[in-house]
């Protein structure tokens, strides 16, 4: 099985594209680093160099020293950007308030997303970060890299930017933190031509889709999350880069109900791999778990003595549907009553596996609190085959977008629109029949919004007819 890209991608060889020599990359010693002081007094920031967890301050100082020792013509934005960023952080600690300004629209030609303007409100004090814009780069699905790509990115970003970045942002992108307006177009040009790599989404766009590690390294992936994420990202480039929506829209692809990319809480359209046939059982391996020959839960509880594995207590009684039992030494699962929570599979991964007739469950409308409060995604489609080129899924996506673009208010996420227009109306409009799976329980209030067409004879009645039967 191979998944070569449909269009050939340019192979990068770092040695052929690099900016910095080895001598420039190793331009400071550990001794110099120990004695290095940045140009500001930053006692509270430096306090964060202590302790065992990786220190972002210690890291930033390495890069600041490296930058200080580069020749003047070996960087195109100010040498002091990192020192100024650390200096401003200390001032923010002193003041208890951020010193980044609100607003400022910047971007690259023809795109409405992917670049976020950022300016310091202390430009006289910290001139090199007066302009300090963010660029979002669309990460490869599930965030795997080779070092040729990463080293090239580092050279580009050190030369034309601050050398500070996030691996990765919450939505998934590579976040490049801090450059000037002048360098935005050159960076975009280098990213597309040399790195063969586009920028991501921001603003009222489709945001950069993301996925779990899927079939690349997980035995539970019911769908090809990477393939699906890549296809949807490329197919919807226009929506990713040019704002046409009421607000942001997020796709996330989870390979199974464990939800490692948190799609159910964080995406307007959540695709979760699932199966509709039976859990596969290896009865010999079940016996091996019971006998203590295999470690339960793949060793996840290895740090504490929890006693001998007890299948009754740890699996059968914890099954939320009570659909499992041991019969004559064999594990039986009543699959028709299973809700695919995967606890049994997670406890005994060598004995139990998801079924093989797989697809996605689609849930809609998750979001963080702004504006109308946090929402979890609501189940819309229980099962849908998900095979390339995903025409069935694209058709559903476009129906939803059409409705949202038509009806959605400014800054209204899909989940809020569904609440406002009501779930039954929403489902009807996108053409999905109601099902009990859409709700936790049927409604408890009887204030049903009957429509005129639901009632024989409609709503038009005459008072004369009524009065003919009832005196005033």
């Amino acid at each position: 099985m191979t998944f070569e890209p449909k269009e050939p991608k340019k192979e990068i060889k770092y040695d052929q594209v690099r900016i910095y020599t080895d001598a420039e990359l190793n331009n400071y010693t550990e001794e110099e680093l120990k004695n290095f002081k940045i140009k500001y007094d930053i006692p509270d920031v430096e306090e964060l160099e202590k302790g065992p967890w990786p220190s972002f301050v210690a890291d930033a100082k390495q890069a600041a020293l490296h930058r200080r020792k580069l020749a003047d013509d070996r960087m195109l934005i100010d040498r002091d950007v990192i020192e100024d960023m650390l200096g401003q952080l200390q001032v923010s600690f002193n003041d208890g308030e951020t010193h980044w300004k609100h607003g400022g629209i910047v971007g690259v030609f023809g795109y409405g997303g992917g670049v976020i303007g950022r300016y310091s409100d202390l430009p006289e004090k910290f001139p090199s970060i007066a302009h300090f814009h963010t660029i979002r780069l669309n990460q490869p699905a599930s965030k795997c890299y080779n070092t040729d790509f990463l080293r090239t990115l580092c050279d580009l970003w050190e030369y034309r930017g601050s050398g500070l970045l996030n691996l990765h942002g919450s939505t998934g992108d590579i976040i490049l933190l801090g450059t000037t307006t002048e360098q935005l177009e050159p960076i975009f040009f280098e990213a597309t031509h040399v790195l063969d790599q586009d920028i991501g989404g921001s603003g009222s766009n489709l945001r950069t889709p993301s996925c779990c590690i899927g079939k690349a390294r997980c035995e539970w992936a019911c769908i090809d999350t990477q393939e699906m994420c890549y296809e949807m990202t490329n197919y919807y480039q226009d929506e990713l880069h040019r704002p046409a929506f009421p607000y942001k829209f997020k796709f996330k692809f989870d390979g199974c109900p464990m939800g490692c990319v948190a799609s159910i809480a964080r995406s307007d359209m959540s695709f979760i791999g699932t199966w509709r046939d039976d859990i596969r059982i290896d009865q010999e391996a079940v016996k091996a778990y019971i006998a203590g020959d295999l470690t339960p839960n793949a060793g996840a509880h290895g740090g504490k003595e929890w006693g001998k594995f007890d299948i009754q207590k740890e699996v059968i009684e914890r099954c939320p549907t009570g659909c499992m039992e041991m019969v004559d030494g064999e594990l039986k699962i009543d699959n028709a009553n299973c809700t695919r929570c995967m606890h049994c599979i997670a406890v005994m991964p060598r004995a139990l596996r998801p079924g093989t007739d797989t697809g996605v469950s689609i849930l809609l409308g998750a979001k963080a609190p702004i504006l109308d409060g946090a929402q979890m995604a609501t189940l819309a489609v229980p099962f849908m085959k998900a095979e390339p080129p995903y025409d069935n899924i694209k058709e559903l996506i476009e129906k939803i977008w059409e409705l949202w673009m038509e009806e959605g208010r400014n800054r209204e996420r899909l989940g809020e629109l569904i609440q406002r227009m009501t779930l039954p109306k929403f489902m009807e409009t996108i053409g999905l029949p109601p099902m009990p799976q859409m709700v936790k329980a049927p409604r408890s209030n009887p204030y049903i919004l009957w429509k005129e067409e639901d009632v024989p004879g409609g709503w038009k009645r005459s008072i004369e007819d009524y009065r003919a039967r009832h005196k005033r």
Partner: protein, 395 residues
Amino acid sequence: MSLSLERLGRYNPEKPLENRLTDMGPRHYWEYFPPVIKNNYGKWAYHDILEPGVMVHVSETGDKVFTVRCGAARFMTVELVREICEIADKHCDGYVRFTTRNNIEFMVDSSDKLEALKKDLASRKFVSGSFKFPIGGTGAGVTNIVHTQGFIHCHTPATDASSMVKSVADELFDYFTGMTLPAKVRVSMACCLNMCGAVHCSDIAMLGYHRKPPIIDHEIISKVCEIPLAITACPVGAISPDKTKDGGKTVKIKGERCMFCGNCYTMCQALPLADKEGDGVTILAGGKISNRISEPKFSKVVVPWLPNNFPRFPEVVETVKKIINAYANDANKYERLGDWAERIGWEKFFEKTGLEFTEHLLDDYRLAYDTWRTSTQFKYTDAAWAVSKAAGGIE
């Protein structure tokens, strides 16, 4: 084509469309898989966690891939990324990946390579003593704390993110490098209610919070903002039109209605909220996103406010530790923090964690009624006796 050294690179501002490439999307994932991943794509049979932070995935073909997971600050520099590359080149044929929770994963295809990799990673420290690549973050422990930008790059934060996460992660370090908890505990941090980090479904969430209504910059508001947009931005209708003394357009704000979401500031820079004394941290607990055993659920507010005590946030660190320690001592195997709280009852959660229950934890926002108890099924705790006493029910 090598990276350009020209000031404007190959970009010609006179002809912005010349040789322009757009909408090419990200690099294709397949290019960046190590051979063992390519050869076994979709064929993985099972996995084991060999020790904290070290996993083996076994394929139906018999191939194995060993993964070492390392914690990292999400914010990093090109210097650290170059060191990651050096490690990946030395041990992993030049491949490396990052997880959704910002861990770094190095993969090798044999156990011999694994030992050398682990030793190398453990030996690398910053000059000030912090680990560069601590190994852990798997199974029944705490993995990397995902977070937002805070004071490093954001214009709306109510607190700082990187410093709080560093402080909490230092204290939870043994839970990262060990797997001694009843189940995994996901700790997350967002520096304002906008929640770029979407922390609302975490076992423990730290959330930056403003407590003072916006200040109105009357002088510029009509010049820099669409006033109707600012008014409609408010989800509780606290903002209404007003006139300045000299007859200009501005707004007024009903402070008692404001729930400090900051959406007005997002829409209008003339309405800042940030304030040294007002801003602080809210702690939420008991959320999850996995469908395992129980359904996904939101985190609940368990501490309404703690001070922003930069840079180490001792009150926040102490609270997170209290919650985790109570959970570690009391929960059953496989039980997530929220499932534990629901089993013992939230009233017992407050007793066992020692957290104070204040009026701010009684919901007063929309759909609040859904969270009020409408039964006599409750447990007695000191808080219950205090109410009985206040009502004159007992001595």
